[in-house]
């Protein structure tokens, strides 16, 4: 870590101490800001306060400044709280509350992503097995343009935005979530759990009684349900996929993620959105399979025999 970077983290750490009540001393401020549970819970509580998103909110200011510091470690810290920011923000949009503080942070993230990919769309080429690849051979070596037809835009091009226009709101939050996803392997579990919990709320389905087997009565909840267009849902699903099936196994996260997937699947059925039904349905089934996979044979284990031979 360079001096200037740790210096920025240090000063951010200092300025945070005037916002939250107790801040434990730390040798490595950037690490503490990202991983310290006491700091995280205080910031979370503040972010969930009724007036937290206002333009003059200290914490929003701090988050905005931290992100604009261009220090990668501090930017990670801001992203760590994105689930709460996005979650609280989207749930409050219809309540006519001041949200300029949240919007400033979200726009900073959006602008960062816009700059880093020069506004370009992200496309992928769906592979076609009739062409040989590094992983397989194919007999037909005919050069066709068929692959061009499989070009898919997975994230459209980005326009710079100075304010959050309501029709672009989902896109701006979606892009911020894309940024979050790109750093998700460095995010602490708590941040991901927050995200899963908000997803469950966004789906807007009430579970009256979880105890009864299979008879969970789901009803569209009056509170919480938000409009979930694909530009928002797609990055949400990618993050949930990571939480549910990613390399780090964590029981709490798994539980939160599978609950979120189930809720979003029910929501997709409510919206009769084929893409979302397919994607969330697969996640729900994969979550169940992952639960069973603990009992699967471990092929890297040596066979247990009574006769050991040289």
């Amino acid at each position: 870590m360079s001096d200037s970077s740790s210096g920025k983290a240090q000063s951010a750490f200092q300025s945070l101490s005037s916002i939250i009540t107790s801040i434990p001393p730390s040798q490595s401020p950037a690490f503490s800001l990202l991983h310290d549970l006491r700091i995280a819970s205080q910031i979370s509580t503040l972010l969930r306060q009724p007036d937290s998103g206002a333009g003059d909110n200290n914490l929003c200011r701090w988050l905005y400044d931290s992100f604009q510091s261009t220090d990668p470690d501090l930017q990670l810290v801001v992203l760590r709280f994105l689930p709460i920011i996005a979650g609280v923000y989207l749930s409050r949009v219809t309540l006519r509350k001041p949200l300029a503080g949240f919007e400033a942070v979200l726009l900073a993230l959006y602008a960062h992503e816009t700059t880093s990919r020069a506004g370009q769309s992200i496309t992928i080429n769906i592979p076609d097995l009739s062409h040989p690849s590094v992983y397989h051979e194919s007999k037909t070596l005919t050069k066709t343009n068929a692959t061009d037809l499989n070009l898919v835009v997975i994230s459209p091009s980005l326009e710079p935005h100075g304010t959050v226009r309501s029709t672009r709101r989902a896109r701006i939050v979606g892009v911020a979530l894309e940024l979050y996803y790109s750093k998700i392997s460095q995010m602490p579990i708590g941040s991901k759990v927050d995200f899963c919990e908000f997803c469950e709320g966004w789906a807007g389905l009430d579970k009256d009684s979880e105890g009864c087997k299979g008879l969970t009565k789901e009803k569209l909840n009056n509170e919480g349900a938000i409009y979930l267009p694909w530009e928002l849902l797609q990055p949400v699903l990618r993050i949930l996929g990571h939480c549910l099936l990613g390399p780090t196994k964590n029981k709490e996260l798994y539980k939160a993620a599978s609950a979120a997937c189930k809720s979003l699947h029910a929501r997709a059925l409510h919206d009769i959105n084929p893409n979302a039904i397919l994607a969330t349905g697969s996640l729900v089934r994969l979550g169940k399979l992952a639960l069973d996979s603990d009992k699967e044979t471990d092929y890297t284990e040596i066979p247990k025999t009574n006769v050991i031979s040289l």
């Binding site: 590094v134 998700i184 969970t216 009565k217 009056n222 084929p274 039904i277 994969l286 092929y299 050991i308």
Partner: protein
């Protein structure tokens, strides 16, 4: 116990004398249940007549005085082999056949003519082959043994014994005997007194002492009880439990050397390796040979080879007992890296060093030794993994793979690889990325996965498939961007995935292909991951392709059809989707599947000709939404409402229409009561009320929708503006459009701006309207500049300003202002973009009509109708023109207008012209009704049709 049966087969005393029966093996019953059976036979077959213990040979029904001994030997062996296959339980009994000992009776075989016995020889012959070649009997033996089905271990002492001339076959027997005795003593010590067990576990060393020097070693059948491996392990384990690794090791080594299977290979390996080093300066007595063997061969062997191997075995034992810490201590005690390095020269393809003896068996022996060492490192890695020391584990595991890579520089060949080595390699290759993954070293995991998949490890299909799947899952869900594979692995012309999604999809598709080709078993998660990945890309058509390639029987066929329907519907191919849903909803399939019913109803709700069918699906969905699916009842009701509303549009009678419309509203209201916060229902209700001209209710819902969505949906703003315009509150409508324009980015403003222009015109502000269009045209130019080079067609449709619409809208505006020249100019521009369209032909007609050119106007309208038979404005104007030019044509005009009203019951112009026709025909009452309708409608006419919202 020694059992003296020289020929394995029976010798019976009959009348004619002693008969050797080549096809009888009665003695077998006595041997069957012992622990270890060691057979040896041959010397007896080459006895001279005086010494032979039989008088006749019986083969089949023939009794012969004598025959070719080699043939007889082969026959007897075959009988024995059959007996082993049929009578011996090789799980309980280990069968060993000590190979042919060459006769050391003639010195000429080892180039010392005149010598009659080997007992005076003290030095081995140099070289791995015996000068006079292998005895013929050993070929017969190998031949018979190769055909035996059960596991019989051939103790191939032939070459060994040939080279070590001083070791007759008995030499090995002597080792056996001594070991057997030890075992017996140990048994006594341990006081296991159970008679039945002990019966077969004794070695009578005394028997051997009585026999003469050569014959004594050639008892063809012996029953030896070495300590069984389990006994040994308990002893070893006890020592391990005391933490005494050294003792455990030595006791294991001691125990191991009892077991031929175990000691043989390292022994021969050691012998071959050591043989050239022997320097016997002085002659040793026979008695000293054994001692020599112990000190000069066993010990170095034990120390050089057995050290690692014994440790490896010990470690494995500990590992299997679940004592990974103990295993690790054992593995830590030896330098496995050094052992690998020691093995490498023999394993590489480099020419052998001077004097080193090479043999055919050397390669396999080395491989075996290598596999033991590698397995030990592998187990070390596993132990570390179990202890959670993941990075260390990964490094150990990688060293296995590195070693293998150095040994087999050309990749592992398909054949001639020790199966155990291959197994260790496969496991290590599979384990390494998992370890990195668990250690959180994502980049290392990615390179380990790629190394596993892109190098030649000779992995079997299942193992390769498991790694491919694990990698695909990692790429999809780790959130770590892997970057494209290195250039080194790229082959000319082959496809190289350039990001995670591409690589994951490629791997999953390859797995699907492998399954379809029958190379691997079905794994449902592969298809699920692929579905997830492709739906994220909104490319569900490719999921459909994969599903279609799948063998029937994997999924229930109705589920299969439903999944396909979702895929097709996902890419907008709704008619294909509906056909599939019809199949899966057939009464013999799954007519009650809620998802299928809802999707079918939704597809039908978008087409008025399918709406009636959709009503059926929606009703069924509502009645099936029970139990845990009760939450979908509201969705079913919503679909019912939408289908009814759509059905109302094509109903032939007013009565029918109003009935359907009120039912539609009732369903939507019911749906709303179930799902208070379902935004779509609010919007649907707003549109439905607006279409029925219940403008106040429509307005309420439009406002509610904008509130609930936070104004994030353009259609909400449009609905509100149109409802306000229908209420003739134009200035308020304009405020709404301005607010909407504030909330949108410029590329999405096209439809709002056109609405605004129309509102301006409605307020008699044509200049402002034209100004609005001018802005729109500037937007179009800007859009062209910023998007022209790289834009895919699909993206334009949604949210970009449609240039054709702009020109056409402007043309309409000018035609209303009667600026015919400008209209023509705009139409020309529009024509460049879209040559034929009903709207444009219609507007051309309007221009002609405006200039008084009735015939051309008429042909323009008719052309528009030919393009779109349900284009209402043309129908109305044709009727208007016809009613003016010819009174005979009034019935035709009336027909056209009725048709127009069927399509658009609320069209003011149609009602007006119908009234005119009625009036001209003298039906004044009807005319009055029509004019009244027109007047009423005009008061609630939106500036754009409400149906443009859907």
């Amino acid at each position: 116990m020694l059992f003296h049966s020289e020929y394995s087969v029976d010798t019976e005393v009959e009348k004619i004398g002693r008969v050797l029966k080549l096809e009888s093996i009665k003695n077998g019953n006595v041997w069957k249940n012992v622990d270890i059976l060691v057979f040896n036979s041959w010397h007896w077959w080459i006895r001279n007549v005086a010494k032979q213990p039989w008088d006749y040979i019986q083969t089949g029904n023939k009794i012969l005085k004598d025959m070719d001994h080699m043939v007889a030997f082969r026959e007897a062996l075959t009988t024995w082999a059959k007996w082993v296959d049929s009578d011996v339980d090789t799980i309980k009994t280990r069968v060993i056949f000590q190979g042919i000992s060459p006769n050391h009776y003639s010195g000429k075989n080892w180039k010392e003519p005149g010598v009659k016995s080997c007992s005076m020889e003290k030095q081995p012959i140099l070289g791995t082959t015996y000068p006079s070649g292998l005895p013929a009997a050993s070929y017969a033996l190998q031949d018979v043994l190769s055909r035996i089905k059960k596991p019989v271990h051939l103790l191939n002492i032939t070459t060994l014994s040939l080279v070590f001339i001083f070791m007759g076959g008995d030499f090995f027997w002597r080792i056996w005997m001594n070991l057997g005795k030890e075992g017996e003593e140990k048994e006594k010590r341990e006081g296991e007194e159970e008679k039945t067990e002990k019966k077969g576990k004794k070695v009578k060393g005394a028997d051997m002492a009585e026999t003469d020097e050569y014959d004594g070693g050639e008892f063809s059948v012996r029953e030896v009880s070495a300590n069984g491996i389990r006994m040994k392990t308990t002893e070893v384990e006890a020592k391990l439990d005391q933490g005494n690794i050294e003792e455990a090791e030595s006791s294991l080594r001691e125990g191991l050397s009892l077991n031929f299977e175990h000691s043989l290979e390292p022994m021969s390996f050691g012998f071959l390796g050591l043989s050239f080093e022997f320097e016997f300066a002085e002659q040793l007595s026979e008695a000293l040979v054994y001692k020599w063997l112990n000190t000069m061969v066993y010990e170095p062997l034990t120390n050089l080879v057995m050290k690692e191997e014994a440790r490896a075995l010990l470690g494995r034992l500990e590992y299997q007992r679940g004592n990974v810490e103990g295993a690790l201590r054992v593995f830590d005690g030896i330098d496995l890296q050094a052992a690998i390095q020691r093995l490498q020269p023999t394993l590489s393809d480099k020419p052998s060093r001077k004097g080193r003896i090479r043999s055919d068996s050397q390669n396999t022996v080395s491989q075996h030794a290598a596999s033991l060492v590698l397995e030990a490192i592998y187990l070390k890695a596993k132990s570390l993994q179990n202890l959670g020391r993941l990075t260390e584990a990964a490094n150990e595991c990688r060293s296995v793979i590195d070693a293998v890579e150095r040994i087999f520089q050309q990749g592992i060949p398909d054949v001639q690889v020790d199966s155990r080595l291959q197994e260790t390699v496969s496991q290590a290759v599979e384990l390494l990325p998992e370890l990195w993954k668990q250690a959180g070293c994502n980049q290392e995991a990615i390179s380990a996965y790629r190394r596993a998949l892109l190098s030649q490890w000779n992995l079997d299909n299942d193992c390769c498939a498991r790694i491919q799947k694990a990698f695909a899952v990692f790429l999809l869900h780790s959130g770590v961007e892997a970057g494209p594979p290195s250039l080194g692995s790229q082959i000319d012309g082959s496809y190289v995935p350039k990001n995670n999604l591409e690589e994951a999809i490629l791997l999953l598709m390859i797995l699907m292909r492998k399954y379809i080709l029958g190379k691997i078993n079905w794994d449902p998660s592969v298809m699920e991951h692929l579905t997830f990945a492709l739906s994220l890309c909104s490319k569900t058509s490719i999921v459909a392709k994969q599903l279609e390639e799948m063998m029937p029987g994997v999924y229930l066929r109705s589920d299969h059809w439903n999944a396909l329907a979702l895929c097709y519907s996902g890419v907008g191919e709704n008619s294909t989707a509906l056909n599939l849903l019809r199949k899966s909803l057939h009464k013999h399939e799954q007519p009650d599947d809620l998802m299928a019913l809802l999707l079918a109803a939704k597809i039908c709700s978008e087409d008025s000709h399918l709406a009636a069918e959709g009503v059926g699906y929606a009703n069924s969905a509502v009645s099936n939404a029970k139990g845990k699916n009760e939450h979908l009842k509201g969705v079913g009701l919503r679909m019912l409402g939408l289908c009814l509303g759509k059905q109302a549009k094509i109903s032939s009678s007013d009565y029918e229409r109003s009935r359907l419309q009120s039912e539609a509203l009732k369903s939507l209201e019911a749906a709303f009561s179930y799902e208070r916060n379902n935004l779509e229902i609010i919007f649907d209700l707003g549109v439905q009320y607006a279409e029925q001209r219940n403008l106040n209710a429509a307005l309420r819902h439009a406002k509610q929708f904008i509130d609930a969505t936070g104004g994030s949906l353009l259609k909400g703003w449009r609905l509100l503006a149109l409802v306000l315009s229908a209420q003739q509150r134009f200035s308020e409508a304009e405020v709404v459009t301005d607010a909407a324009l504030d909330e949108t980015t410029k590329w999405e403003q096209g439809s709002m701006l056109r609405l605004k222009a129309k509102l301006k015109l409605a307020q008699s502000l044509p200049i402002d309207a034209i100004e609005t269009y001018r802005y729109l045209l500037a937007l179009v130019q800007a859009q062209k500049k910023s998007f022209s080079p790289h834009i895919s067609v699909s993206q334009v449709d949604d949210d970009k300003v449609d240039e054709f619409e702009v020109w056409h809208g402007l043309a309409n505006l000018y035609s209303k202002l009667l600026h015919w020249k400008d209209v023509e100019l705009c139409l020309g521009k529009a024509k460049e973009l879209k040559q034929y369209s009903a709207e444009m032909l219609h507007t051309e007609g309007v221009v002609c009509q405006g200039r008084g050119n009735m015939h051309e106007a008429l042909s323009g309208y008719i052309n528009a109708l030919l393009l779109d038979p349900s284009y209402v404005p043309s129908k109305i104007l044709i009727a208007a023109v016809l009613s003016k030019v010819a009174s005979k044509a009034l019935p035709v005009a009336r027909g056209l207008l009725s048709d127009a009203l069927r399509i658009e019951p609320t069209n003011t112009m149609a009602w007006f012209h119908l009234g005119v026709i009625h009036r001209d025909d003298g039906r004044l009452a009807d005319a009055a009704d029509c004019f009244q309708a027109a007047a009423m409608l005009e008061e609630s006419d939106p500036i754009e049709s409400f149906s443009s919202l859907l």
